[in-house]
């Protein structure tokens, strides 16, 4: 099924269908992750791959055009041979891989048993993924948030902060009663119904990430997708009145500083950077507060980055 989808993507010349097939591909992958017991990853893939990244691609092909020229026949031969050659080498290498699902594979012998057995006593949350993400590997996650932030700065430098250049007239905000909005009545009603629950769901995912699947990364993307849905249905101008891009551009920094702030605070309290044991008098409470705050920082950064990128890309296509 996955392979068939990918072959469709390779063969089609229409970018619109390639992007939609990629969205479908992401949804399939999300189901596969679910089957492989990776609930947090499935959650993220569904929100990001099938939601946010598809929207970004659609916004980009709205600017650059929908069709690609077919590659010349001679040009495809060399990549094809190279890919088949590399693939054959990788298949040869795969014979050394431990079989799928084996309990005694090397990957399950290293740090994972400790995470699974000790995290309840050392960190607290029943969701081990959250413990590892926010506490054991807090440095890694801090770095990842930094990468998201850096990518956002790059988009900002390339495309501007989602604000119009001076001298270009903004399109008037669509009137609810005019003809084009009346035709979109189904979309409008459905989005009215959906946006508020999605926002609340994002907050639930944010704060419940310790106990069930979820956390700052997922919550941020879900929150952003509610705002993006609003912007798609009602137009970008009302969405920007709701969240002015100039102010929104500060938020990714705020989230990152919140994360770093927890680290600095734990240093001031006499621990190492991001050592939550020292955040409160009781180490387990400290872990709990530390994880909550850094997940909030992650959520703010991710949500603000996604909305900002969407504004930047869609302002260009107006």
């Amino acid at each position: 099924m996955l392979v068939a989808t990918v072959i469709m993507i390779i063969r089609t010349q229409k970018l619109m269908s390639a992007v939609l097939m990629m969205s479908f591909f992401s949804l399939l992958c999300s189901c596969i992750f679910m089957v492989l017991d990776a609930v947090d990853v499935a959650f993220t893939e569904a929100a990001v791959g099938a939601g946010a990244s598809t929207i970004f691609f659609l916004a980009a092909i709205a600017i650059v055009g929908r069709t690609s020229k077919p590659s010349r026949p001679g040009k495809t031969l060399v990549p094809l041979i190279a890919c088949i050659g590399t693939g054959a080498l990788l298949v040869y290498a795969s014979f050394d891989m431990p079989y799928f699902g084996k309990v005694d594979a090397p990957i399950h012998q290293h740090v994972a048993p400790r995470y699974l057995q000790e995290s309840a006593g050392e960190v607290g949350p029943p969701n081990v993924v959250t413990s590892v993400l926010a506490s054991y590997r807090g440095y890694d996650t801090f770095g990842e948030v930094g990468v998201v932030f850096t990518a956002f700065i790059g988009v900002l430098l390339l495309l501007g902060a989602g604000t119009r250049k001076a001298g270009i007239e903004r399109p008037a905000p669509p009137n609810v009663n005019d003809e084009s909005m009346r035709q979109k009545i189904v979309l409008r009603e459905v989005s009215d119904l959906v946006v508020a629950p999605v926002l609340i769901f994002a907050l639930y995912v944010q704060w419940h990430g310790d106990f069930g699947p979820g956390g700052g990364f997922q919550a941020g993307v879900i929150f952003a997708s509610a705002i993006i849905l609003y912007a798609l249905i009602y137009g970008i101008v009302p969405a920007q009145q709701l969240l002015p891009p100039r102010k929104l551009a500060y938020l990714p920094g705020v989230g990152l500083l919140l994360y770093a702030g927890v680290g600095v605070y734990s240093m001031l309290m006499g621990g190492n950077f991001l050592d939550y044991d020292k955040v409160a008098s009781n180490p387990l409470d400290g872990q709990h507060y530390g994880i909550l705050i850094i997940e909030l920082g992650v959520g703010i950064t991710v949500a603000a980055v996604m909305i900002n990128i969407f504004f930047s890309l869609s302002e260009r296509s107006l």
Binding site: G49, F100, P126
Partner: protein, 131 residues
């Protein structure tokens, strides 16, 4: 053997398909689609390695002792979000290239570049001859 390695072989096929799109396609946005496919194949590889026969999702509950490995889940979870941010950066670069060249076709852009360089060389030779 077939059942044990099947996941990895699917991953390899997907990975090579992504690589093929990146190398053979002329449209820059489609190249980014190819990169995304490649990236997702890597995700499946990691998650497959973390899975355990008879295991369950790594959320601690009473009465279960066998969980899948949480470490790849953490790595891939963050990688997905970082992936979409870098994809957006790639798309932003493609949009800027379109604004500068009025095309996102790799070969057209290369042709325009060679044309520019030829003209620049012609201009320098003309200005150099009088002296």
């Amino acid at each position: 053997m077939l059942a044990g390695l099947f996941n990895y072989w699917v991953v390899i096929i997907l990975m090579m398909a992504g690589l093929y799109v990146v190398m053979s396609s002329r449209h820059l946005v489609k190249k980014i689609v190819g990169l995304n496919i490649f990236q997702t194949a890597v995700f499946i590889l990691f998650i497959s390695m973390g899975a355990v026969d008879g295991g369950t999702a790594p959320i601690l509950v009473e009465g279960t002792t066998l969980y899948s490995n949480p470490l790849p889940h953490v790595l891939i979870l963050t990688a997905i979000v970082v992936g979409v941010a870098t994809t957006a950066l790639g798309l932003a670069i493609a949009v800027r290239i379109y604004e500068a060249y009025d095309s996102v076709d790799e070969e057209d852009i290369a042709a325009m570049d060679t044309e520019d360089r030829r003209q620049e060389n012609a201009v320098t030779t003309v200005t150099n001859t009088p002296s």
